[in-house]
């Protein structure tokens, strides 16, 4: 297929040309409407089967999300919705009983965006809790709780946050989210692999007590399939409760599109031109299903996901995208070979400039990279040789060197890295020279294990020795779970939470398998438990 495609996406340019932004915002389901609600008509059953969410908190605003789907698993990906637009009203209140409503508005859910809405609610007070709910088609959603970021110059006392990633629904129950909800973090970071694109069948359906229809037994490739896959995963009640509990700040990894892809390059023999078509529908479905602001709306096969969230003077969260702009896997994967080419980049030049510039200007106490793949150098050969993963930052050593060099050069305070991807809990210290254990520790990396991927797991497994053979790796656990952190002016306390099993049911208890303290001004990991 030859390409003369218009890559501008949903037609945003034409909308922005309309008088006032409200028309665009209304049409895209992204903003408050200035006009009266359009009649959307009744919907025959509860359309909130995929839950509600909020995300990307700023000092005075928050983005809310829902996607109407009275039949979430309808095979065409449209959730049982009619093709017509439907008005979605929302209200935001200061109290759980909605007696002090501070904002009301509506957005129009359209079939183009799978009847998702992303209203951005402005005019809120910084650093406080809010409650929200939606109404559509004569139905009221359950309430959700959210929170605005502190004012830019505020010095908040403490922030509790949770890290989660890698939720292969078919590998087990989302027990981790049940416990995460009980911990009541104020902010949740999702670090990639929200869905997986693989066919689901008897070979990988380890979650007991469920069945899936034949529509799910296919590699996900079309928009209707990606939409259906998000719907399937979002049917998990614990995931829905976790979204309703607190605002999420999300980023993706590879499985939101395809295993181990790099920019427009597939690992599976698909031409770049065709793979971009797949990326376009995958990114569209991602936007439709996440609490993201309209700045993230995809344009054809492109989507700006990297962004920055300040949390007063306490922290600055730099959300990265290490998939969309990375160079392809080197043809020569020999340690010390092509992967060390100084021209190679995992961030792309523009994002790298943006990141370094932001770090240089930051006045935050904690400077956090919210990202996907392991940044620390991990030699995967336990013998005298050296072997590296080309999918992680080890495949882009010059980019890592430039980044960590900038951190040292600009005196960036308290570098923290939040990571997912590997389905294992890992805590590591980032070194000035990874080959010299005595060199300075310049940052701390917390890798959260998976919520679902790889099934039950065990404390130790075939990779334990490999990871712990790297002296800057201080902890490893092969079970499912999440990481809970308390970030304060004096220290960051990180707790690695695990559940013993997930395949049989969602009843497994949780335990804290390790607790580390990272003191402000002193990067690294002090183990308490």
């Amino acid at each position: 297929m030859s390409g003369d495609d218009d890559r501008s996406g949903i037609g945003r340019r034409s909308f922005l040309g309309l008088a006032g932004v409200s028309a665009a915002a209304l049409a895209l389901g992204t903003g408050e409407a200035t006009a009266a609600p359009r009649p959307g008509g009744r919907l025959p059953s509860d359309p909130f089967g995929l839950g509600i969410a909020s995300g990307d908190p700023e000092s005075h605003s928050i983005v809310l999300w829902t996607r109407l789907a009275p039949e979430p698993l309808a095979a065409d990906g449209h959730g049982g919705m009619p093709r017509r637009p439907v008005t979605v009203e929302y209200e935001v209140a200061e109290d759980e009983r909605f007696s002090r409503v501070v904002r009301r508005g509506h957005a129009v859910a359209t079939a183009e965006l799978a009847h998702s809405v992303h209203p951005e609610v402005a005019g809120l007070r910084p650093g406080r809790e809010y409650f929200y709910r939606f109404r559509a088609g004569g139905h009221l959603s359950p309430p959700g709780r959210t929170r605005t970021a502190p004012a830019r110059e505020a010095r908040p006392g403490e922030l509790s946050l949770a890290l989660a990633s890698c939720q292969a629904w078919y590998h087990g129950h989302f027990t981790a989210y049940r416990h995460l909800v009980a911990d009541e973090p104020e902010l949740v970071f999702f670090l990639g692999d929200y869905i997986y694109e693989y066919a689901i069948n008897a070979a990988n359906l380890w979650r007991e007590g469920v069945t899936v229809g034949p529509a799910h037994d296919a590699d996900v490739q079309t928009l209707e399939q990606y939409r259906l896959r998000y719907a399937l995963f979002k049917t998990d009640p614990h995931l829905q409760r976790a979204h309703a509990l607190a605002p999420w700040i999300v980023t993706w990894d590879d499985h939101e599109v395809q295993n181990n892809y790099a920019a427009e390059h597939s690992r599976y023999g698909i031409s770049p031109e065709d793979f971009e078509r797949r990326r376009a529908v995958a990114y569209r479905a991602y936007y439709e299903n996440m609490p993201l602001r309209r700045a993230a709306l995809p344009r054809g096969p492109d989507m700006r996901l990297y962004r920055r969230t300040p949390w007063g003077r306490l922290a600055e969260f730099n959300v990265l995208d290490t998939r969309q702009y990375r160079d392809d896997v080197p043809s020569d994967t020999t340690a010390g070979g092509e992967h060390t080419d100084p021209r190679r980049s995992i961030l792309g030049a523009e994002q790298e400039r943006w990141l370094v510039d932001g770090l240089r200007r930051s006045g935050a106490l904690w400077n956090v990279l919210v990202q996907q793949v392991v940044l620390a150098r991990i030699d995967r050969d336990t013998g005298p040789g050296t072997t590296f993963s080309m999918d992680q930052w080890d495949g882009f050593t010059a980019n890592r060197d430039r980044l960590l060099g900038a951190v040292q050069r600009h005196g960036v305070d308290n570098l923290l890295v939040f990571t997912g991807d590997i389905h294992r809990h890992v805590a590591a210290e980032l070194k000035a020279d990874f080959t010299d254990p005595a060199s300075a520790t310049i940052g701390t990396e917390l890798v959260t294990g998976s919520v679902g991927s790889d099934g039950d797991g065990a404390p130790t497994d075939g990779y334990t020795g490999l990871w712990l053979a790297n002296p800057h790796v201080k902890f490893y656990d092969g079970r499912r779970g999440y990481v809970l952190c308390r970030m304060g002016p004096e220290a960051l306390v990180s707790e690695f939470k695990v559940v013993d099993y997930i395949q049989r049911d969602d009843a497994a208890p949780v335990s804290t398998v390790a607790r580390f303290v990272t003191e402000a001004g002193r990067p690294g990991l002090e183990r308490e438990v």
């Binding site: 030859s2 093709r83 965006l113 928009l223 078509r277 529908v281 096969p301």
Partner: protein, 282 residues
């Protein structure tokens, strides 16, 4: 009517086809991003006048090509029309129709000279099938040596042909020999048919063919599903196996009266799983 996102989806244009034995691949030109294409619904029928409907839907793809396979060894004529479905669910009118033919196999058009196994999308009649590859090294060492009229498929031709990427087979090249007799040197080329029920998904490797020491071809095998080492029947409903076919000419000049020896060498990549092998007069 597409109310909010601008233009309605347009039908695919400029359809073209390439074909092989048992498959036809249709490619087309289309705009994918405005409106965003959810998928292209590919419809086909032997009837040139068909109208697309649920019964003619062959598959959906987001790409600009679609491979219609499983067409069998006989040449078939099909007609294709494509409906573009956008993100809102709106459908374009069907594209103009494209006529295409699959290539007929020599197993249909030719006369068998010497054959190992049955061309039936199953490996089950071959040695060690369907899953006994762990015994390969003990039974076959460096490869098979099959003599037409003497050897038996069930004992002398293993279903799996390993390559150097297979540690279980010694991480080395493996060459299979197929000996057959001709009463006289043929006046015209013969044809070799190598049908596979599956190959390795990422490194299927290359098959090097010689005839009486003369190099005939080096064929890059199609990527399979890496399931043929454990399963042997690609006719079962929902089979994950991905069969492929290699058919090529054996030059008359390379053949001779008396015994002829074909070698099938695998010096690159991982295994392939046989359905059948045969020499045909065409």
């Amino acid at each position: 009517m597409n109310t909010l996102a601008g233009p309605s989806p347009r039908p695919a244009a400029r359809l073209t086809a390439t074909s092989g034995i048992a498959w036809i691949e249709v490619s087309w030109h289309a705009r994918s991003y405005r409106p965003l294409v959810d998928h292209f619904a590919v419809h086909g029928s032997p009837d040139p006048w068909f109208e697309p409907g649920p019964s003619t839907l062959l598959g959906k793809t987001v790409y600009g090509r679609f491979r219609h396979d499983g067409l069998g060894p006989r040449g078939q004529t099909w007609h294709y029309r494509i409906v573009t479905v956008d993100a809102s669910g709106e459908q374009s009118p069907p594209s103009a129709a494209l006529r295409a033919e699959s290539v007929e196999s020599v197993t249909v058009s030719g006369t068998p000279v010497a054959v190992i196994g049955s061309f039936d999308l199953r490996s089950l009649e071959l040695a060690l099938a369907p899953a006994g590859y762990q015994q390969y090294s003990a039974r076959f060492g460096d490869g098979a040596d099959y003599v037409d009229g003497v050897s038996s498929p069930g004992t002398d031709w293993p279903y799996l042909h390993p390559g150097p990427a297979d540690r279980w087979a010694g991480s080395k090249a493996h060459t299979f020999r197929f000996r057959f007799r001709l009463a006289e040197q043929p006046a015209a080329d013969l044809a070799l048919a190598v049908w596979l029920i599956d190959t390795h998904a990422s490194i299927p490797g290359r098959l090097a063919v010689t005839c009486n020491g003369t190099p005939v071809a080096e064929v890059e095998l199609e990527k399979g599903a890496t399931k043929g080492s454990l399963q042997g029947d690609a006719t079962l409903p929902g089979t994950p196996l991905r069969p492929s076919v290699v058919e090529l000419a054996l030059p008359a000049a390379a053949l001779r009266a008396g015994e002829n020896t074909l070698t099938l060498g695998k010096a690159e990549g991982s295994w392939h799983a046989y359905d059948a092998v045969g020499v045909f007069a065409v």
